[in-house]
Symmetry: C2
Subunit: 209 residues, 2 copies
Amino acid sequence: MNFEDIVNSRRAVNFFDKDKDVSEELLREMVELAAKSPSGFNLQPWNMIVLRDSESKGRLQKLAWDQPKVSEAPIALIILADIDGWKEENKTVEKVFLENVKAGIMSEEQREWFKNARDSIYGDSRDKQLAFACKNTGFFAMTLMLAAKSLGLDTHPMDGFDHEGVIKEFNIPDNYWIPLLLAVGYFDKDKQLYPPKWRKSYDEIVVEF
Amino acid sequence: MNFEDIVNSRRAVNFFDKDKDVSEELLREMVELAAKSPSGFNLQPWNMIVLRDSESKGRLQKLAWDQPKVSEAPIALIILADIDGWKEENKTVEKVFLENVKAGIMSEEQREWFKNARDSIYGDSRDKQLAFACKNTGFFAMTLMLAAKSLGLDTHPMDGFDHEGVIKEFNIPDNYWIPLLLAVGYFDKDKQLYPPKWRKSYDEIVVEF
């Protein structure tokens, strides 16, 4: 499939084939493609919890407006955005710096510069930290959905869930925001999809002030 | 190019060919592909300002750590996330509802349900509204970058800018957050790119608590 076909055939699928599992290998392939998404300073402030067993998916479904697709899909992902993913003490931040030094992209002497740059962009408000986490994790999740389609899989991103409830139920540390849940599997071909929904045109997207 | 090639060849390009313009037609094509990105309730809370003339790009560059690529790229986009893009009085929200009714996805009687659903998810905190805006606009911007690559274009997403300064300089209404700036053009082939940066592995992305 070319890119246009992937974009056009990616749909938020409400009905998943309960009998068709997604292999660990395929999930890895999908995630490793999404891992190549860009992020501010390459900080990659994204993680995810993978739920496969029906007990865990059932607990999530209860907190997600009881949407059956959460359990019907073989995999339900809780996508996590790390609000602290720019801080000096963050493990990934340190790794990014060391890998940059190793690749000759930064020098050891730039450690202070790198810290100051992050502090100046993200350090001064909760808004900036949350926007950083959710924007970049949005990049990751979008590539995840397109990668899924390119591998023959279907997905459904969900906003309809109790944010605080899921944080509590799954013991999620409070440095994380949950920008979305994502059901992953195969469309149930016995069901029907609505035609693609209306989208804003170029002229509705571009603004001037 | 297949999807894997697009993902692997999309790079944040620091050097743009100053002599190679991007046609209006190509930009439209790119944006119309990105417009198909999913969003919570299909609310599409994304907009963008397109800068092409050197005077405007120069004003933006000054507020973006003086990064030359802002001016060197034929197009600089100010990507906007509408924090109010879930509210009843929002024009796009009304249009989404009417288009859903027209397509038989919703009935006129569901107007109240639709309002309550949005209010219950986004209504009770600034955090939720900002996360909604930035996550969905992240989807849009990610597809924009991949669409660009699929059309032979290169991009560079930027976090390094003075958020309040750009809001002020370009008279951006305060319902918008700027999740990123995006330079769009063609890579300057006289320059060299570093090898792709380190990325987290599957096992570093998946977490359990």
